[in-house]
Structure formats: C-alpha cells, structure tokens
Point group: C2
Chain length 338, copies 2
C-alpha cells in the first residue's frame, strides 16, 4: 500500500551519522563538515527523502500555511471572478516564501466563529487574511487580543492597530462618481453589497462625497443593497427603474452586480448608456464580455494580494511589515457603458 515513510533516522543510519546531523544538513546549518554533508545529501538524493511537514510543524510551531476566510455562501462565490483572482494571486505570493494557502468559506455567523476557532486556535494556520469584513467585527478584537497574525483586505478603522491593505474605496468611488457627474449624469444610483460590509459603506461614502462636492443632493432612494446574489441585484435594479424619474447612472459595488443590473435594465428596454450609465468595480474579464462593455474601476488584485501576503508572512516570521496600512491605487477604465 502506501510506500514506507522514510525518516531522518534511517537516512542517518545509512549515511553513518546521527539524526541531528541529517537535520542540520537539510536545514543548511553551516556547522557540518563538507564531507559529511555530501554523504548525507547523497543518501537523501538516492532515497528521495523529504521531511515530514507534520513533524516540522509541531516542532517549529509553524505550519507554513496561511488561511483565507471568505464570508460568502458558496453560491455567491461560485461565479465571482474577484475571488479566483485573489486566491490565485495569494497562492503565487505565498509560494515564493514556501507557504501554502488554506481557503475556507463561512456563510453563517456561527460557522464564522467555528472556522475561526478551527483554523486559528488550533494553530492550523500561521496567519489569516480576512476579506469582506463587516464594519464591526468582534473577531477582529479577538484576533488582536490573542496576538494572532492577520491582515485585513478592504477594511480600515483608524482606531485599530491592525494591518490592512486597502483600495482606497472612498477615493475610488468618489472618482467614479465624479466621472459620471462630469459626463452629465445627475441622478446617480449606488448598488452595494450587504449593508454591513465595510466595502459597501466606504464606496457609499465616496459616492456621497462626490455628490456633495458637486452640490448634488443625496437621495437615499437611489441607494440599494444586495446579498451578492443575481436575484438581489436584479431586484435592486428593478426598484431603481420604478422610481420616476429613474436614475441616469448606476455605480455598482462590483462588476458582477453591474452586469446583473445591466441585464435587468436591458430586459426592461432601457438603453445603455443613453438612458442610463453603468460603472462597476474590479475590471474583471467580464467587463469585456457584456454589451455594452462595462466601464469599471481597476483594482489591482495581484498587487493587493501580494501586499497582503507579504505583510502577513512578515508578521508571522516576526519581521516588521512595510506599513500598517497600505493603499493600492485605482483608476477608471472607460468603456462603452459610461
């Protein structure tokens, strides 16, 4: 059945040295004479020995595993290009430091706690990357108080002493809204995700700031929230179109929501961008597949993921991260929808 597992002590016996020496050679400890080193390496090569990660984890108190917890139901995750991009980029960066990625989803509040316990308290992972946190998330205090290494993506509270990597959501939404205003739109709507998410709030704030800067009154009827499902995005759009006059532009929290909203608008015979303009977020490949092509705010996901990963690994390894809060620049890619 399963091949007999090779242990250091066997390598040691075959090389005629002690197990400690084998370990030293493999760890690159310079306190080993060249001759012995060669002898050990020869046996290691010959037998294809690889150290057992489980034993290393216990001994070193490090699993070399970082966790990513996504607060979404699998269904809401399924078609989302943001997460595949994020996951791919994190894996890539983690691999450079010889870390692996453990991904978990947590749909309910209860399972969030469970996953948090499971991953963290059990020391199953060395650190955590959290995305889409809610504005008041008690877990964050707890992570902090336990001194557990973690990095937030897309959430920032001035009072926290946490590390975070951010899009400047407020600024980006401001910029996008400003663009809509300067292209003549006045009745601009906003479709966010769940109301509790920091991203939803921050982009709403940026949207409001832009309106205010142009002296356009803020109308709460033009603000909608979704649960990231297609249906809720379509419903939000339907509701916006039932206003009279209906909005002449929509700023959506992400490209998927924008695409669903556009679909609903087209279904109801509204012309895009003539009657209504759309702007999304993330500049996912999706933007070029929809018709008209979707104008979107580019969020540099690889960069975002890279900074988050580097910061987390620095924390795990006790080095000083680059900065407490890092901002990734954004820019608007103009296409046909706005």
């Amino acid at each position: 059945m399963r091949a007999a597992k090779l242990k250091q002590v066997e390598i040691a016996r075959l090389a005629g040295v002690s197990q400690a020496t084998v370990s030293r050679v493999l760890k690159g400890n310079p306190q080993v004479k060249e001759e012995l080193r060669q002898r050990v390496l020869a046996v290691v090569q010959e037998l294809g020995y690889v150290p057992d990660a489980r034993a290393q984890s216990l001994r070193s108190q490090r699993t070399r595993l970082i966790g990513l917890v996504v607060h979404r139901a699998p269904a809401a995750l399924a078609g989302d290009p943001f997460f595949s991009a994020l996951i791919a980029a994190i894996i890539e960066h983690a691999a450079k430091h010889d870390y692996h990625l453990c991904v978990d989803t947590a749909r309910t509040a209860r399972s969030q706690r469970a996953i948090y316990e499971e991953l963290l308290r059990t020391r199953r992972v060395d650190g955590l990357i959290l995305v889409e946190s809610e504005t008041r998330d008690r877990r964050i205090e707890r992570l902090t108080s336990e001194g557990f290494p973690f990095v937030l993506i897309g959430r920032y509270e001035p009072e926290d002493a946490t590390y975070s990597v951010d899009n400047d959501n407020i600024g980006a939404a401001h910029m996008a809204t400003d663009y809509l205003i300067r292209t003549g739109r006045r009745r601009i709507a906003y479709i966010g995700g769940p109301a509790g998410l920091t991203v939803t709030r921050d982009r709403l704030q940026g949207y409001r700031n832009a309106l205010e800067a142009h002296g356009i009154p803020y109308d709460p009827h033009r603000v909608m929230f979704t649960d990231f499902s297609e249906r809720s995005a379509a419903n939000a759009m339907a509701e916006l179109l039932s206003l009279s006059p209906h909005p002449d532009a929509v700023l959506a929290l992400d490209d998927v929501i924008a695409a669903c909203a556009m679909l609903e608008a087209k279904r109801r015979g509204v012309r895009i961008p003539d009657d209504i303009a759309f702007v999304g977020f993330n500049d996912s490949p999706l933007c070029r597949y929809v018709e008209p092509e979707l104008t979107s705010v580019v969020v540099d996901i690889p960069l975002l993921a890279g900074k988050a990963t580097e910061t987390l690994i620095a924390l795990v390894e006790g080095r000083a991260p680059e900065a407490k809060r890092q901002i990734v620049p954004t820019r608007l890619v103009k296409r046909e929808s706005a």
Copy 2:
C-alpha cells in the same frame, strides 16, 4: 503578545486528572466515568481549550487537509468562474467531514513536480484532487505507486485503477454538437484548451463522434486549441473566420473561451446566431451576461465537487468509495447564441 498556548497537560492538572484522560474525554472515548468527564469538560469550557492541530497531525498521521492542484497560470485562473465554483463546493463538502482545503497552482511542469513533492511527500495533505490533468501524466502513476489517495476530475483512463469523477465529456460534446447539427449547422468548429488536456481531447472526440453520426466530414482546420488566455481564444476565432466559408457554429471548451470567441466574431461584424452559433460549457453566470446569451452545457459543479470530495475522504479514511468512476450527468441549456 500571542496568548499563552493551553496544553492538555494544564487542563489535566486543573481538573485533577491525567493528561491521557483529557485526551480521552475530548476524543469521546467512552472509557471515562461521567464524573471525570464533566470535570474535564468544565475546565475545557472555562479556559476555552482547543487541541493543537499540529500535534494531532503528527500523532494521528493525518492533517485533515485535502489538496487541490490547479494546473494553470494565475492569470488564466483569475477570471474563471469554474474554479471559484469548484473551490467553493469542495470547501463546503470537506467541511462536513471536518477537513480543510489547501489550494495550489502549478504553472510550469517543474513547479508541478515541486508542488507534488511539497504537498504529498511531506504528508502536508491527506489526499489530492487533480483537475485538468494531461492525458499522459506521469505523476498519476507515481501517486498510484506510492499508494497516495487521490481523485481525478475530468480524466479517465480505462487501464488506470484510479478513482475519478467525470462529466462524460465525450457524451456531452456529442450532445451539444448534435444539437447544432439538428438546428441546421453544418460547418461546425471546435475551440478547445491546451491540446494535451484530457478534457480538450474528450470533448473533441464527442464532437467528432457527432459529426460522424450525421455523416459530416471532419475538417481539422476547424479545430483550434487555446491556452485559456483571452488572446489565444480571440486568435483562434479570427483564424476560423478567415476560412472560407467560415464555420457556421462553434463548440467551445468553456464559457470563457466561448465569450472571447463571440467577442471577436462580433468585432468582425459577424452576426450571432444568424451567421454563426456558439455553445459553451459550464453554464456559468457569464452566459447570461453576454449578448446574445450563451447556450451552454450545464456541468453540475457542486455535484462534481461533492462526489470528488466524498470519494477522496473515503479513500483517506480507508472506507470504500462509492465507485471507481462516477459520472455526473450534463444537459444543454438553450439560450440565444445557438
């Protein structure tokens, strides 16, 4: 700093029992009197003790981690709805058995080997789910010969004694091609992924079978391969359109490729579905965002992922899986593009 780590031996001391008893209580070993059990549980509750997964892994020789290795460059993964759906579904199923998911990408052949060594030989994961394997993949023999638990998605070789979960790619492609033929298409093209992938080959086979069944000659000029990049899909489409007469239908390996090809076709002024029909695979949300909406073969990804996960965990835990080869049914969702 980091909260002092609680050990079983401390719980034992506080409860006035031995460490072994604490372990027994936590493992649900019935050989413990109710009184002691309660006393131990009280202390565990009180202090919020959670066992250390690293020590458990070493002792039990199980990490409760399953690996998913994706053979794609991060860029090609970034926007792909198939993988986010797959990952989400695997996580969901694994969680039911108290397993977690470790995801890795492997772009080059060299890094594939490296990841394979890293995850498997080090016993970092208990088992592996492999997707998009190449038809002749030497790693598979090696996994088999080492007796390591693994499950293949979308690859099946009659001679292997491996476990696999499959879409019946040949049948599905046959069905989709048949549909195109019966709606009057005769010059049907096929755009696959990399030529070495089993999925690419199997669907090509199904496509050829359908042509043959209808007595339509097979024309290799109408068969294209891509590397999953948008550019290569667009190039493939451009090349197909340069044929004269150009194809009147395209069967694409997945929805993303189909969407890119449609985009290129529209860019060149070809009307869909009048001049050319399109069929994709996966029925991703994307299908409804493109215009015209994309006809696609539904692959039940949650079911696929569920069967793969259950099979793998059964193998890991030494139970007999349901079957060596499991087939997930597919069906065609007709929309506007064909």
